[in-house]
Symmetry: C2
Subunit: 142 residues, 2 copies
DNA sequence: TCAACAGTTTAGAATAAATATAATGTATTA
DNA sequence: TAATACATTATATTTATTCTAAACTGTTGA
């Protein structure tokens, strides 16, 4: 259980008790090579598959929200019947594949700084996100 | 009933029968000075207020979807429990006021062309949308 | 003109994501 | 280890959206 130590620390430092449910969710979310995007439904399935413990749906929701609050997850603005979440919390943009219903990261470096030549009095910009919707390129290439 | 003629034409040309419900919804959506953003709930309220007829919730949903399909409305990608719709179907971007839960248009001219230096093999970009989240600027200005 | 038909509306039921409830369980700390 | 605050859970609730199927209406062509 060596690597779960880091999650116990992480949780404690955040003022969250390191319960076995939360530690498991940390492992699923953060103990991976690459960041990824998921829905609650998908996360539940991943936990079910690789867990020796049962985690209730309510706890999955609670934990995801707690992690968002702490900045360990981001919610992705996508028009869908369900929310998407991102383990990549750096500032970046997305392709959204409308056929696969999958998000693909676009690094900040791969998009020129978005320059908005307009302001709203009394308001400041908190975040700027680009979503590029993509579909299959079925061009008849001559 | 002079101006409703144009909506009757519009509907007929789209292969949609010009029913009194659809004509009324056209008036509410398109017979206004400015384009605007709305949720289904808000649209139902507007119809209720200015209509002499009753339009069922199912018809409001059906009609909005039919109009999206015809390109008369756009759905706005926003992370929310409900969908936002836009009567401005030109290519443009948005501020989203997180406190008021309101969308504000940003004309295409007010944002430099978003240049994405990355492609996905076999996929083409269908649309690029910028969403800038804004909040109150409560800075203590010295 | 009007019957036939396809398209439309509607109330109400069904679905499903998300949240709330409240009882039970557990990590923490003194 | 006892007290307590925090967390988990099954279950109920909420709410946006979609589905269903019966009634209704716009269109068409005989
Ligand atoms: Mn949420
Ligand atoms: Mn929903
Ligand atoms: Zn991402
Ligand atoms: Zn708009």
């Amino acid at each position: 259980m060596a690597y779960s130590e880091q999650y116990i620390d992480k949780l404690r430092k955040s003022g969250l008790r390191p319960t076995k449910q939360r530690i498991k969710i940390c492992e699923v979310l953060f103990d991976v090579e690459k960041t990824f995007h998921f829905t609650i439904k998908e996360l539940v399935k991943i936990i079910e598959n690789q867990a020796n413990i049962k985690v209730s749906l309510a706890t999955v929701y609670n934990t995801v929200h707690a992690f968002i609050k702490k900045g360990y997850l981001k919610e992705i603005p996508l028009n869908a019947s369900q929310s998407y979440y991102d383990t990549n919390v750096t500032h970046h943009h997305h392709f959204f594949d409308e056929e696969e219903n999958k998000l693909i990261d676009i690094h900040q470096d791969d998009v020129d700084e978005v320059n908005i030549k307009r302001t709203i009095p009394g308001k400041k910009i908190r975040s700027v996100e680009v979503i590029a919707k993509i579909v299959s390129d079925n061009q008849s290439q001559k």
